[in-house]
Every structure is written in structure tokens, then in C-alpha cells.
């Protein structure tokens, strides 16, 4: 810490309290991860008896062995990847040009379009009209339906639009003087300058898609098309309903708890791997040095 000795007593106290609060917050977000991971590696009995607090009890990989041996797990895992990658790319393809258009002063009816986009954040039709709409479009139980139905997100468009608006006008003008057309201005100047904002939106899209459960449950009926989160719910329901499985619990190698935890751990790993790749874009100051204000 810089110049710690120059801090007053009040400032030092403030910094220490902050550190404690941040530590508690970090712990409160980290602990569920640790707990779930520990449960997934524990024996069925220890998990059900509530013995697992921090570290695994009676370490076993049987829950993973069960999960990974299920073909439906791999199928839904693959589906989740398709929905996440396809959905995120479709979203970016719509959000980036949309936000650019809405950020341009020369867009005819700009205020109206912006209002219409924002309007969808405050009011939407609700679940049943949406389902009926999907049905009428023939998009029920369709992988394409899941991808395109949720591709356009007003919040993300407004977020990126605001970022585009903050880019100095002279970049656009310089590019236009250099001979760039609107698409070139967008792809060669605005997109590279907006990496932090686009990375943020990508992360939002990826996380939302990866965790997407509700609409997939409502819209998809074919087991072969469901994502991981829906499969997780089915597994919990199936194991809980299985009376034979429940009665042999004491001897069982895995339980509802350990299997659930193992699936959750498997579903978290890709997101954990993804984040470091985009973290480098969350740096400020990309515009540094380009213009002098």
C-alpha cells in the first residue's frame, strides 16, 4: 500500500474495515464453490448426513463415475455448448451493429428507435404470449428457436451503444477521411476500440446462455435437445423419485447430493476456464494516446 504512514488514523481504520468486508464478501461467494466441490468428492452417506462442511469426507469419485457414464449428460453438455456459442455469436451479430446504428447521430428517428429498444426492458408481453408466439413461429422444441429467441437483449444494446457514443467523433471522421465506409468504421475502428465493452457483453451472454434453464425447460420437450441445466433438474427429480435407489442409500456409492454436486462442478468448469481468456480485455485505457482532449 502506498504512503500507508501518511494515512490518518481514521483513514487507516476505513481501509482495514474495507479489507475485512471485501474478505467476507469474497468468502461468501467462494464458499458455495468449495462446498459443492467437497460434496461431489464425498461419499453418499457423508453428504446426506450433512457431515461435509469444508473438505470432502470419505473421498470418492463414484459420483463423477456415475455422471460421466451417462450418455444423456454428454448430450446435454454438448447442447449447452451449442446454445452458448451459437447464442452468443448470434447475440453479438445483432447487438454490435444495432448498438452502432443507435449511437449514430445521423440515424433517422434515432430517439424513437432508442425508446423502442428501452421500452422492451420495462414492458414485455409475458410468458404465455411469448410461448404462443414461439409456437406460431414453429420454434417450439427447436434448437434454432432457443438460439434466436433470446439473441437480442435491450440492456446489452444500450450498454454498448453508450460505449460507442463515448468514442470521440474524430476517430470516425479520421476513418471516413481515410476512405472507410460505415461497415469499415464499425469493424476496423469501433469494434477494436470497444473490446472491453464487447468482452463484458460476451461474458453476460455466455453466462446467461450457460445457465439458461427456464425457457429451455418450457420450450424444449425432446430430451436430446435439452441443455445441461435442464438435465441437472431431471437427474435430481429422477434420483429423488427412485425408491429403490433411496432405500439402498447407506450402501450406495453416490446420492442425489453427490451426483447433483458433481454435475454442478462439471458445469462450472468451462465458465471458469473461459473467464481468464476475456479478462485481458477488461482493461481500461484502450483509448489512451489516440486523441488528446
Amino acid at each position: 500500500m502506498q504512503n500507508w504512514n501518511l494515512y490518518s488514523r481514521g483513514d487507516k481504520l476505513f481501509v482495514r474495515i474495507n479489507a475485512v468486508l471485501i474478505g467476507l464478501f469474497a468468502l461468501s461467494t467462494l464458499y458455495p464453490f468449495i462446498y459443492i466441490a467437497s460434496v461431489s468428492f464425498s461419499s453418499a452417506f457423508a453428504a446426506r448426513a450433512g457431515k461435509v462442511v469444508l473438505t470432502p469426507i470419505d473421498v470418492t469419485l463414484s459420483a463423477y463415475a456415475h455422471v460421466l457414464s451417462e450418455p444423456q449428460f454428454w448430450n446435454s453438455y454438448g447442447n449447452t455448448f451449442i446454445y452458448t456459442i451459437g447464442g452468443t455469436l448470434t447475440s453479438l451479430l445483432i447487438i454490435i451493429p444495432g448498438a452502432y446504428a443507435l449511437s449514430r447521430p445521423q440515424l433517422i428517428g434515432r430517439r424513437f428507435w432508442n425508446l423502442m429498444i428501452a421500452f422492451t426492458m420495462w414492458f414485455h408481453a409475458g410468458m404465455i404470449p411469448f410461448w404462443l408466439n414461439m409456437r406460431d413461429l414453429g420454434l417450439l422444441d427447436s434448437m434454432i428457436g432457443i438460439i434466436i429467441a433470446f439473441a437480442c437483449n435491450a440492456f446489452n444494446i444500450i450498454l454498448l451503444r453508450n460505449f460507442f457514443e463515448s468514442i470521440p467523433q474524430s476517430f470516425e471522421e479520421a476513418a471516413r477521411m481515410d476512405g472507410a465506409n460505415e461497415f469499415q468504421v464499425l469493424w476496423k475502428v469501433f469494434v477494436p476500440l470497444s473490446k472491453p465493452a464487447i468482452a463484458t457483453i460476451t461474458l453476460f451472454c455466455v453466462v446467461a446462455r450457460w445457465n439458461g434453464f427456464f425457457w429451455a425447460m418450457i420450450l424444449l420437450t425432446d430430451e436430446g435437445k435439452v441443455p445441461l441445466q435442464v438435465y441437472l433438474r431431471q437427474t435430481i427429480a429422477d434420483l429423488s423419485d427412485d425408491e429403490e435407489f433411496s432405500s439402498t442409500l447407506i450402501d450406495a456409492a453416490y446420492s442425489v447430493e453427490t451426483v447433483t454436486a458433481a454435475i454442478i462442478v462439471c458445469s462450472i468448469i468451462p465458465v471458469l476456464c473461459f473467464y481468464p481468456f476475456i479478462q485481458k480485455y477488461f482493461n481500461k485505457g484502450i483509448m489512451l494516446g489516440g486523441v488528446k482532449e
Binding site: 481515410d178 476496423k188 483509448m287
Partner: protein
């Protein structure tokens, strides 16, 4: 052929007209500086030439071709922006190559162009650096390099030096003029700094309130300003101005008659503004001069010169004189002498210069 021709150019934003029908001919290979105070319409005029602003009325031609409805990229002009506008995600070489790549120039040719321009601008060692890793002067040179590599017909400069410190500004000013002498490209340069205007321009266009006040060479404008605005805008310190009345023997200010060259007989009794440049007085009485009794209240040494702040009647005036290594002899100055040919008269109502 004229390089750039502006005919009755008008710019209006809704009901507010900011450029009121200006006419200007910029000759081929000429360096023209648009100068004026903030909000006088000089940048707007430049941006209309660039194609970044639509022209409300009038006709703009570049090398004989009317370009009113032609996109900036097709006008064959390049612009250097006040805030550089370098692409921060690209290094120096890529910044300069940006326009060439968009125009699909072959790669080896791009490389050669960049090499040539980098040598001219002494940027060869910095081609791999990003703008953030360059100093202000280097960034400005990159911005110019980006304009030069394209070999445009016209260079447009929008206050390119205003973000630099004073020393660098002087240095870059000279570089820009040298570059112009070397490349000979028609250039239009906007600034509010009259020193830049005087030093760079083949011709200066003084603008005020959306109108052109005067066009001429720097010395023409300095010696024979067309009106009181130009007289006050060019020159540092600005021209001293005092109200007076024309008499048969000269011009009278507070009972003192100052000799003026030229025939004033038709103007007798006319109310005028008398203009005397600070540099145009001497401390020695010479033939054809009039003595102005002054009360000296401050001497500001500038090194080789000094500024004398003095009261002349009710008027606060500033004079500039050489120090010859000391300002001691200036402390008891009580009179300065102005030659008749150096006294300028402007109509008190219209501000226009009187023909003498």
C-alpha cells in the same frame, strides 16, 4: 486551375446560420491559413471542405470538380485533426497504412510508402509503437504522416498544434512549412493563433462571425488591415486604437494633432479610429514624425525588446522598442514618435480602413 474554390458557401444549423456566404480561391500549391477567434466559422468551413459537414448553400470545387455531394473519401483530401485521432489499437505503421489498405493498395507499395514518409517525418524508429507510447510531437507527426502517405490533392489542418507546448509548437510549425515547401501540396490550415497564421501562410484569410474580413499575404494584412477587426486581431500586442477627428493637418486626439500621410482634405471633420502599431514608434525624433507625450507606467523586458505601457491622454497604449541590452534608458521616456506613414485611420462607425 484553382486548388479549392469556395463560392457563396453558407452553413446553417436549422435556423442558425454560422457561415454567411463566403467566397475564396485557394491556388494550386498554395498554403492558406484561416484565422479568427473561436466560433468565427473557420473550423466549420474546413470541415465543409473535408466533407465532414454538409454545405447548406453555395458551391465547393476541388481542382475543378464540384464536390458538394461527394463523400469525404472521394474528395482526395486528407485531414490532420486537432486531437490527432490516431487509432489507439494500431501501431504507427498500421495507423499510416489504414487508409492505403482500405483503398486496396498492394502490400509492397504500402510498405514502401510508409518507409518514405517515416523517413521524411523521422518516424522510422517508432513504426512499431502504439500512439500511447509516443510523445505529443511524435503523435502529431504520425497524424501528418497518415495524411501524407495518401498523396492527396489537398491537405487540411484543423488547429494541429494547439495541443502542443509552446516550444514544440514552434518546432512543428517550422516542420509543417518545410514539409509544404518540399511536397508542394495545396494546404488549408485553421488556427486561432495569429503567430502560426503569420509564419505559415502564403495568404491569410481572417474570419470573424462567419464572414471573411480580409484575404492577403501576412505582410499585406499586417501593414494594411482592411478594418479595425483585422488590425486588432493580427499583431502582438495588438494595434493601439484611439478615437479621433480628421483635421486639415492630420488627425486630432485629445487636442494633439498627429500627422498622417495622404490627402485628408475630403475627410475633414470625420470621426475616426486612429491605429498605431506598438512596433511603429521610435524613441528618437525624426523627420515626418509626431511626438506623443506619454506617462510611462510599466516597462516589460522581453530580452531584445521591451514593452512600454503608457498613458496617452485618457488612452492606455502599448509600445514595443528595442532594449539594446538594457532597459535603464527606458524608465524616463516621456515622448514617443510616430511617423505619418505608420498612422492608420478607420471609420469610427463602420470600422473600415480609410483610403489614404
Amino acid at each position: 486551375m484553382s486548388g479549392v474554390l469556395l463560392q457563396n458557401i453558407v452553413k446553417a444549423y436549422g435556423a442558425a446560420q454560422v457561415v454567411h456566404g463566403i467566397n475564396l480561391t485557394v491556388q494550386e500549391k498554395e498554403f492558406v491559413v484561416l484565422v479568427g477567434p473561436s466560433g468565427c466559422g473557420k473550423s466549420t468551413t474546413l470541415r465543409m471542405i473535408a466533407g465532414l459537414e454538409e454545405i447548406t448553400e453555395g458551391q465547393l470545387s476541388i481542382y475543378g470538380k464540384v464536390v458538394n455531394r461527394i463523400a469525404p473519401k472521394d474528395r482526395d483530401v486528407a485531414m490532420v485533426f486537432q486531437n490527432y485521432a490516431l487509432y489507439p489499437h494500431l501501431n504507427v505503421a498500421d495507423n499510416m497504412a489504414f487508409g492505403l489498405r482500405i483503398r486496396k493498395m498492394p502490400k509492397p507499395e504500402i510498405k514502401q510508402q510508409i518507409k518514405n514518409v517515416a523517413e521524411i517525418l523521422e518516424l522510422t524508429d517508432y513504426l512499431e509503437r502504439r500512439p500511447a507510447d509516443l510523445s505529443g510531437g511524435q503523435r502529431q507527426r504520425v497524424a501528418m504522416g497518415r495524411a501524407i502517405v495518401r498523396h492527396p490533392k489537398v491537405f487540411l489542418f484543423d488547429e494541429p498544434l494547439s495541443n502542443l507546448d509552446a516550444k514544440l509548437r514552434t518546432q512543428m510549425r517550422a516542420e509543417i512549412r518545410r514539409l509544404h515547401n518540399r511536397l508542394g501540396v495545396t494546404s488549408i490550415y485553421v488556427t486561432h493563433d495569429q503567430v502560426e497564421a503569420m509564419t505559415l501562410a502564403d495568404r491569410i484569410v481572417v474570419m470573424n462571425d462567419g464572414r471573411i474580413e480580409q484575404v492577403g499575404t501576412p505582410m499585406e494584412l499586417f501593414m494594411n488591415p482592411a478594418n479595425i477587426f483585422v488590425a486588432g486581431f493580427l499583431g502582438s500586442p495588438p494595434m493601439n486604437q484611439m478615437p479621433g477627428t480628421v483635421t486639415e493637418k492630420g488627425v486630432e486626439i485629445d487636442g494633439i494633432i498627429i500627422a498622417v500621410s495622404g490627402n485628408l482634405s475630403a475627410q475633414v471633420g470625420r470621426k475616426v479610429i486612429v491605429g498605431i502599431r506598438p512596433e511603429h514608434v521610435s524613441l528618437q525624433k525624426e523627420k515626418g514624425t509626431t511626438a506623443l507625450p506619454i506617462n510611462l507606467d510599466l516597462v516589460e523586458p522581453l530580452g531584445s525588446e521591451a514593452l512600454l505601457h503608457a498613458q496617452f491622454g485618457a488612452h492606455q497604449l502599448v509600445f514595443k522598442t528595442e532594449t539594446q541590452g538594457s532597459i535603464d534608458h527606458l524608465s524616463d521616456v516621456s515622448e514617443v514618435y510616430v511617423h505619418a506613414s505608420m498612422v492608420k485611420l478607420f471609420d469610427a462607425e463602420t470600422g473600415e480602413a480609410l483610403p489614404l
